[in-house]
């Protein structure tokens, strides 16, 4: 099981150290404004993070080419995560997988329920630029795997930021179609929500941001709780 934390720059080192001390299994660093603004992440910080982190970490945001990805990995990231650029240029997934191996290539999917179906959205980092990608979530989940994605982070937008629990129905549906690791994102508010997503939806990891940033949930305490609920975690 893995936990991931999502952080929008600022106080990166302090947060990263705190999460490592608390026992996070993996960190994800997002620059969610990178794609809508057409710029890439400022990558110097990756080196500083890699220097102190002894757990795996991914970098997401503005990775549009094999060269972008190579720079991020060379700075010390373990994985790269792509979202909007994969929608704009699906071939990028295969190119990255071929060059770095599928295990390095995470595809993030922002999915929203409309008319009883799940739809993929892009440029979700900026509300003004967010738009429907024209793809259905389940089709995109299948396609990115065929193209070589080694992991999928499914961000359920209806749940995001409201702390009412992960979207178990959607995650269960996607799990059926997903033979690579699936990470749940969006909706975590309580420890029970984490237990639910692991036991009911069978995901491989739970990603959360605000509940960890605000220290509403301490990761060590959460993992002890999960172990009591018979969820296998590293303490």
């Amino acid at each position: 099981m893995q936990f991931r934390n999502h952080e929008v720059m600022g106080g990166i080192m302090e947060l990263a150290s705190r999460y490592v001390d608390e026992g996070a299994d993996e960190l994800v660093f997002y620059d969610i404004t990178a794609s809508p603004e057409g710029r890439s992440v400022d990558r110097r910080w990756i080196n500083r993070v890699a220097e102190v982190l002894n757990i795996p970490f991914s970098v997401a945001g503005g990775i549009r080419s094999v060269q972008d990805a190579e720079a991020v990995l060379n700075f010390g990231a373990d994985k790269i995560s792509i979202n909007s650029p994969a929608l704009a240029n699906p071939d990028l997934i295969g190119e990255l997988a071929k060059r770095f191996g599928s295990q390095c290539v995470v595809v993030g999917i922002d999915s929203r329920e409309e008319d009883d179906t799940y739809h993929v959205y892009q440029f979700t980092g900026d509300p003004d630029k967010t738009r429907h990608s024209g793809r259905l979530t389940i089709d995109w989940v299948r396609e990115v795997q065929e193209r070589g994605a080694g992991e999928i982070v499914l961000n359920c937008m209806n749940q995001d930021g409201v702390r009412q629990g992960y979207d178990l129905a959607q995650l269960t549906l996607v799990r059926e179609q997903c033979t690579v690791p699936l990470i749940a994102s969006g909706g975590a508010g309580t420890m029970q929500h984490f237990a639910d997503v692991f036991t009911a939806a069978g995901v491989d990891g739970g990603l959360a941001a605000s509940v960890f940033h605000s220290a509403a949930i301490n990761i060590q305490a959460l993992k002890k709780y999960l172990r009591k609920q018979s969820v296998e975690v590293r303490l």
């Binding site: 099981m1 060059r99 770095f100 390095c104 690791p181």
Partner: protein, 199 residues
Amino acid sequence: MTAKTVAIIDGGGANIASLNFALARLGCSGELTVDPARISAASHVILPGVGDAADCMTRLRDANLVDLIGSLRQPFLGICVGLQLLLDGSEENQARCIGVFPGLARRFAAARGRPVPHMGWNRVHRRRESPLFADIPDGTHFYFVHSYAADVTSDTLASTDYGRSFAAVLERDNFVAAQFHPERSSRQGAQFLENFLRT
């Protein structure tokens, strides 16, 4: 720790930075190289290996390192694909490998509840005692990222399970290989690396 000269064999993959930083945190520095003289002269040699096993072998062959690696007598550590490169071969693109350890790296079959690649923290259980596991409790979690794995053999120092039992650490003479990433396995991973550097 006393001064060590650690050669990291440059297999051409990205992702060497994390290993170098892990060594630096132990007060050691690794030199990334394909120079046979520098590799031979190092006190310790690490073969990280990232990406496709067949590609890695092509690069090692092009650099004339295959026979050299097999003949080294100083402590040698293969990590992840580096473990697979030390086997006879891998199912991955039918790679013929270095052959320090008998056996083939075989691909995992994806199944419900067992996605492939296998990415995550697994408990590692030792099968015999070794200084490599000094101060590391049995059953400690280490971080794995891989789609292929070696079967458990008499060289297997520690094993874990992902649908099938597989070798987490192999050891034969001066050769050690870890399927997990010690550089990304938190405190205990650092301890494993430190134990290796002490051999």
